[in-house]
């Protein structure tokens, strides 16, 4: 966003307004674009909605009370699918995947099947399960992708819960001690920052540079890469937007930042997401919205291999999030 846009096209933050959002597909059509699958290189496995935190921006409404979690039969079906599909990356998420008793078995099973295994961590769940999991992570070179929304304690705790900032710093220090995020260790530690409110994320490259400087200076922390993602107006974040009177303004902001150049690189084109009960989606956000891949409820056990390139991707208004600014990849 250039500065002229900053001062001429802001979105009032206080007032709740009604807004008619042009359907995402219509916006694509206006730009002569279509959203279809490319060759799939990433399998995302969502182990369930159980989480030790109740983050206010969570698109899945994950939390301590959720019972929807993957069982061993489904996990076996997912592993068999990975075996017959030859993905480059396997991306394990939740909820907090560390809370699943099946996580070590899953990592052991899929590690030989893909060159790269990633795990999305909220850090506080890892802190509680560090002893049980860290050897498995290390031996399979699991890439840890850790949520770390802000360098500021108030912003972090406001989004993720009281005391989370301090716990996150402690866990990052432990991970550094083990070798994660340290140069030459082969153990990759990446951070994810996301806005702590109804605004868009900062520039990824500049933020990565600033985080490297400040984390090193204040806490002697190092990491590999940083990703800057926008919050998706689904689940608990959507409820917060509505309740706080920010929904219309946020949607307007996403729509006005639509970037046609971002569409080609959207993650949904190259990723298949599997829910805790084994059904397939184009992405984790469509999973949150029950938009099944191809509009059909297909169980992973029925899938012969990766989705066919050229298949249309299910789209809805939340897709504006990933196509805003530099995109969501």
């Amino acid at each position: 966003m250039d500065v002229q846009t900053t001062i001429t096209k802001p979105v009032p933050s206080s007032a709740q307004r009604t807004i008619d959002v042009m359907p995402f597909r219509s916006t694509l059509a206006q730009h002569h674009l279509e959203l279809v699958r490319a060759p799939t290189h990433t399998l995302q496995i969502n182990l369930g909605f159980l989480c030790n935190q109740t983050c206010r921006h969570c698109h899945l409404d994950a939390g301590p009370g959720r019972k929807e979690n993957m069982d061993s039969d489904t996990l076996n079906a997912v592993v068999a699918y990975a075996q017959r599909s030859h993905f480059e990356n396997i991306d394990i998420t939740g909820g907090a995947p560390e809370l699943s008793p099946l996580l070590p078995d899953l990592i052991e099973s899929v590690s030989p099947l893909a060159p790269k295994i990633m795990l999305r961590s909220n850090l506080s769940a890892l802190k509680k399960n560090m002893r049980r999991l860290i050897d498995v992570f290390k031996s399979h070179r699991v890439v840890i992708v850790a949520s770390f929304p802000s360098l500021n304690v108030t912003q972090t705790d406001s989004q993720r819960g009281e005391g989370i900032f301090e716990k996150s710093i402690t866990v990052l220090q432990e991970l550094n001690t083990i070798g994660y995020g340290r140069s030459g260790s082969g153990l990759e530690l990446n951070l994810v920052v996301n806005p702590t409110g109804a605004f868009l994320p900062p520039d990824q490259e500049k933020t990565e540079k600033r985080y490297h400087q400040i984390l090193k200076k204040k806490w002697n922390l190092t990491f590999n890469r940083l990703f800057s993602f926008a919050n998706v107006p689904l689940g608990r974040f959507r409820q917060w937007l509505i309740k706080s009177g920010n929904f219309a303004g946020y949607m307007q902001k996403l729509v006005s930042n639509f970037n046609p150049c971002a569409v080609e690189g959207l993650m949904c084109r190259t990723l298949v997401s599997i829910s805790w009960d084994g059904y397939l989606y184009d992405c984790d956000f469509n999973l949150a919205k029950d938009l099944y891949m191809g509009g059909k409820k297909i169980h992973v056990s029925e899938m012969p291999g990766p989705p066919q390139p050229g298949t249309p991707i299910m789209a809805a208004d939340h897709c504006y999030t990933c196509a805003a600014g530099s995109g969501f990849t």
């Binding site: 500065v3 001062i7 009032p12 933050s13 500049k206």
Partner: protein, 110 residues
């Protein structure tokens, strides 16, 4: 209630170019150049703009640069400190004029 300042007026700022397009073009071109990354980052410049917005008491600018600061990765603590900086300068500017008062007062006094 009717008010001179309306949030929905802010997006109309660019309409200022309708009567004098060349001047508006020059202004916005300069404006964008000023706020681009240079020796100072865009984030730092947005913090300065936010502070100045408080000094000139422009509600449009406060709205726009509060959002800009957040979107460039600043947090509320940094933004509050920036407002204190401009407040200190503004207060200091009043207070330092006390020297003039003292000079004049001493000249006039026995």
């Amino acid at each position: 209630m009717e008010t001179y300042y309306k949030p929905e007026d802010l997006p109309k700022f660019e309409e200022i170019g309708e009567e004098a397009p060349q001047l508006a073009h020059k202004f916005f071109e300069y404006y964008n150049a000023v706020f681009a990354d240079g020796e100072l980052t865009e984030r730092e410049k947005a913090l300065i703009a936010l502070a100045v917005a408080h000094a000139v008491q422009c509600p449009y600018c406060i709205d726009a640069y509060t959002q800009a600061c957040l979107e460039k990765g600043s947090n509320m603590a940094e933004m509050t400190e920036a407002v204190h900086v401009v407040t200190a300068i503004r207060g200091g500017a009043s207070l330092v004029h006390g020297v003039q008062m003292r000079n004049i007062g001493r000249k006039l006094s026995m």
